[in-house]
C-alpha cells in the first residue's frame, strides 16, 4: 500500500502512557492532522514517525516497507521542527542544502534543487542571509524548504505556526494548504489549534490521552462530534444533558425532537452557537423562549448568551438585540449533534 501505516503503536515515559495503541493508515498525498491539547501524545507520535523516538511496541510501515527499526537518518521522512532548528552558523542556502549534502548529492544538482525550492517558497532573495537575520515567517519557510528539498515521502510538521502572530498564521495556513495540494505530498501536521486543523487538513485525528478519539474529514469531525471532548475542543458547543424517552429528548430547559434516536437513555446533545437561529415567531419544532443576558461584539458577528441554559449563540452584527430581550430560538433537529460517548 502507498502511504504510511501505524500499527498498534505504544509509548510510555516512566508511568505516563503517552501513546496508547494507535493504529491508522495515512494515504499517500494526504494532508493529515493530529489535533489535540498539549500532553495528548501527538508530538510523541510524530517523533516516532520521524525516528527520533522509539516506540515500545507496534510497527510503522512506509509504502509497504517496514521502517520500524530504522533510525531517523535512514527514513525518507523530513521534519519541520517547532523551533525550526535552523543551523545558526550556516546561511539560508547551506541550511537548505544540508540534507542533500549529507547524502552526497552532486554539487550541480544541489544548486539546482535548492534554488528551485527557495524560489518556490519565495526565498530566492535571501540565500546569503543567516537565520538570525530572518523574521519568524521567513524562518518558518526556510525550515519548510530545508525539509521539502529532500523530496521526502512524508513531511512532518510539528506545530510549525505556533511562533507566528495570528494574522501571519492565517495567511501561512492557506499557503501551506495550497503548497501541499500543488506538490501532492503526504503532510502530517501536529497542532493544538483547531482552526488550523480545519483549514489545512484532508483528514483530522483528534487525540486525547494518547489515543485517537475521533477521525474523519474536517466537516465530519466538526459537524458530528462523537463526544463532549471533541465537541468542545473543536469550536464551541452548547452541551445539553437530558433523558431520551418516548421519542423525545427531555432536558431542564425544554423538550426537543431529535433526527435520529440516540443509542442511550441518558446523555448529551451538542448544538453549535452558529447553528441556532433567532425566530420572530414560535418555531414549529424545538422552539425555546430565552432571555438575553450578555452580548459580545466580535466585529464579524455577535456572541449572545441567554438564559435558561446558559445557551450561547452567534448571529450577525446586523441584528438589533439588546440585553433583556426575550427571543424565540430555533434548535432545528437536523442541527443537533447527538454525542455517543
Amino acid at each position: 500500500m502507498k502511504g504510511l501505516s501505524l500499527k498498534g503503536i505504544n509509548k510510555t515515559f516512566g508511568k505516563v502512557h503517552a501513546v496508547r495503541d494507535v493504529s491508522k493508515d495515512i494515504h499517500s498525498g494526504e494532508f493529515f492532522t493530529l489535533l489535540g491539547p498539549s500532553g495528548c501524545g501527538k508530538t510523541t507520535l510524530l517523533r516516532m514517525i520521524a525516528g527520533l523516538e522509539l516506540q515500545d511496541s507496534g510497527r510503522i510501515i512506509l509504502d509497504g516497507e517496514d521502517i520500524t527499526g530504522l533510525p531517523a537518518i535512514k527514513r525518507h521522512i523530513n521534519t519541520v521542527f517547532q523551533s525550526y532548528a535552523l543551523f545558526p552558523h550556516l546561511n539560508i542556502f547551506d541550511n537548505v542544502a544540508f540534507g542533500l549534502r549529507s547524502r552526497k548529492v552532486p554539487g550541480v544538482e544541489v544548486n539546482k534543487r535548492v534554488k528551485n525550492t527557495l524560489e518556490m517558497l519565495e526565498l530566492g532573495e535571501m540565500t546569503k542571509r543567516f537565520p538570525h537575520q530572518l523574521s519568524g515567517g521567513q524562518s518558518q519557510r526556510v525550515a519548510l524548504a530545508r525539509a521539502l528539498v529532500n523530496e521526502p515521502k512524508v513531511l512532518l510538521l510539528d506545530e510549525p505556526m505556533s511562533a507566528l502572530d495570528a494574522k501571519l498564521r492565517a495567511q501561512v495556513q492557506v499557503e501551506l494548504r495550497r503548497l501541499q495540494q500543488k506538490l501532492h505530498q503526504t503532510f502530517i501536521l501536529v497542532t493544538h489549534d483547531q482552526d488550523e486543523a480545519l483549514i489545512v487538513s484532508d483528514r483530522i485525528a483528534v487525540m486525547k490521552d494518547g489515543q485517537i478519539i475521533q477521525y474523519g474529514t474536517p466537516a465530519e469531525v466538526y459537524d458530528f462530534p462523537k463526544n463532549r471532548f471533541v465537541a468542545e475542543f473543536l469550536g464551541s458547543a452548547n452541551l445539553i444533558e437530558g433523558n431520551y424517552r418516548d421519542g423525545l429528548f427531555h432536558t431542564q430547559i425544554g423538550i426537543f425532537e431529535l433526527e435520529k434516536p440516540p443509542s442511550w437513555e441518558k446523555g448529551f446533545i451538542a448544538i453549535r452557537p452558529e447553528w441556532i437561529r433567532i425566530s420572530d415567531t414560535e418555531p414549529v419544532k424545538n422552539g425555546l423562549r430565552a432571555t438575553v443576558t450578555e452580548i459580545i461584539y466580535r466585529g464579524t458577528n455577535l456572541d449572545i448568551s441567554l438564559t435558561p441554559g446558559p445557551i450561547r449563540l452567534r448571529t450577525s452584527t446586523y441584528s438589533h438585540i439588546k440585553i433583556g430581550d426575550e427571543l424565540w430560538l430555533d434548535l432545528a433537529p437536523k442541527e443537533i449533534a447527538v454525542l455517543n460517548e
Binding site: 523551533s83 532548528a85 543551523f87 529532500n150
Partner: protein, 301 residues
C-alpha cells in the same frame, strides 16, 4: 557637563557621575599598575641588561640575551633554546588537543546523568583542582613506580629496562599535564554542553547527517564558546608550566618553564631569564591573536 541627568533612577550631574566612576575604578587601576604594568616594564628593562660575574645585574644595554636565545652563544651556534621553545609549544598543543578530545565524552557523560548525581560527578572532576599540583605530580610517581603494573607492562614489552620506573619521560610529562589541565577544558565545555539545544542534533539526524556532520554542524558551533575558554585557559599556562615537567620530565624533557626557572634559580642569570619570559609572552600573544582571527566573533573570555 553639569547638566542634570537621570542615571538608573537617580538625579545627578555628569560631573559628579564621572568623579564617582573614577573613585570606583582607582583601586583596580592601582592594583593593575602595581602588579602587572610595572613588573612587566621592569622585565622588559632587565631583559636588555647583562649578568655580572657573581650573578648580579649589570646595567649595560645589549641584545645579547635575545641573540643567545635564538642560538648565538659563547660556545658557537646551537639551536638548544629554540628547540626547547618549540617543544614547549608542541607539548602545550598536544596537551590542549588531548584534553579537548577527552573532555567531550566526559562532559556528555556527566550531562546525561540525572540532576541529583550530576554535581557529584562534577565535584569528582574538580577535586584534583583543589589539590596542590606538586602533590599531584608526586601521585604520578606512585602510579608509574616500577612495582606497579603500568611500569611492569612497559618492561615486559621491552620499552623500558626491567625494574625501572616510567618517569622521568615524555609520557609522564603528558600524563601530568593532561591530568592538570583537563578540568580547565572540561568545566567551561560542560557549561556549554549542559545548555546544548538537542533539537539541532535531531534536525541534523532528520537531514541524514553522519555522526561527523552532526558534530561539526550541530554540536561544535554550540559548544564553541565554552571550548574557546577551555582552550585559552589550557594553552596559555601550559606553555609556561614548569612544576610538572620538572618533576615528571626531569632533565630529559626540559620545557621553557623549566629554563626560565633555572635562570632565576641555579644559574642566577636574571637578564637571560627575563628575555626568555619576554619571548614566551610574545609567542603567547601571537597565538592568541591567530586564534582570535581564526575564530572571528568568538569572545575569548
Amino acid at each position: 557637563m553639569n547638566k542634570l541627568i537621570i542615571w538608573y533612577g537617580e538625579l545627578i550631574t555628569g560631573h559628579k557621575l564621572l568623579k564617582r566612576g573614577l573613585f570606583f575604578l582607582t583601586p583596580g587601576m592601582l592594583w593593575l599598575i602595581l602588579f602587572l604594568v610595572l613588573p612587566g616594564l621592569i622585565l622588559i628593562l632587565v631583559s636588555f641588561a647583562g649578568r655580572g660575574t657573581y650573578g648580579d645585574l649589570v646595567w649595560e644595554f645589549s641584545f645579547e640575551n635575545y641573540t643567545r636565545l635564538i642560538g648565538y652563544g659563547i660556545f658557537g651556534w646551537t639551536l638548544d633554546y629554540v628547540y626547547i621553545l618549540f617543544r614547549s609549544i608542541w607539548v602545550a598543543l598536544v596537551t590542549t588537543c588531548l584534553s579537548v578530545v577527552l573532555s567531550y565524552p566526559l562532559c556528555f557523560y556527566i550531562a546525561k546523568k540525572p540532576l541529583r548525581t550530576r554535581y557529584l560527578w562534577l565535584t569528582i572532576v574538580i577535586i584534583p583542582f583543589w589539590t596542590n599540583m606538586v602533590i599531584r605530580a608526586y601521585a604520578w610517581f606512585l602510579i608509574l613506580a616500577p612495582e606497579l603494573p603500568f611500569a611492569k607492562l612497559a618492561a615486559f614489552l621491552k620499552l623500558i629496562p626491567e625494574g625501572a620506573p616510567l618517569y622521568p619521560s615524555a609520557l609522564a610529562v603528558y600524563l601530568g599535564m593532561i591530568s592538570m589541565f583537563l578540568p580547565f577544558v572540561a568545566l567551561p565545555l560542560f557549561s556549554s554542553i549542559e545548555r546544548l539545544d538537542w533539537t539541532l542534533v535531531e534536525a541534523a539526524q532528520d537531514l541524514y547527517a553522519s555522526n561527523f556532520r552532526i558534530f561539526m554542524h550541530a554540536i561544535l558551533p554550540q559548544t564553541l564558546p565554552g571550548l574557546s575558554v577551555g582552550i585559552i585557559l589550557t594553552i596559555v599556562p601550559a606553555m609556561g608550566m614548569f612544576v610538572v615537567p620538572d618533576l615528571l620530565g626531569g632533565a630529559k624533557y626540559m620545557l621553557i618553564g623549566n629554563l626560565i626557572q633555572q635562570q632565576f634559580g641555579s644559574s642566577r642569570d636574571y637578564a637571560f631569564g627575563a628575555a626568555i619570559s619576554m619571548a614566551l609572552m610574545i609567542l603567547t600573544l601571537i597565538s592568541l591573536y591567530l586564534y582570535k582571527r581564526k575564530n572571528r566573533g568568538v569572545d575569548l573570555i
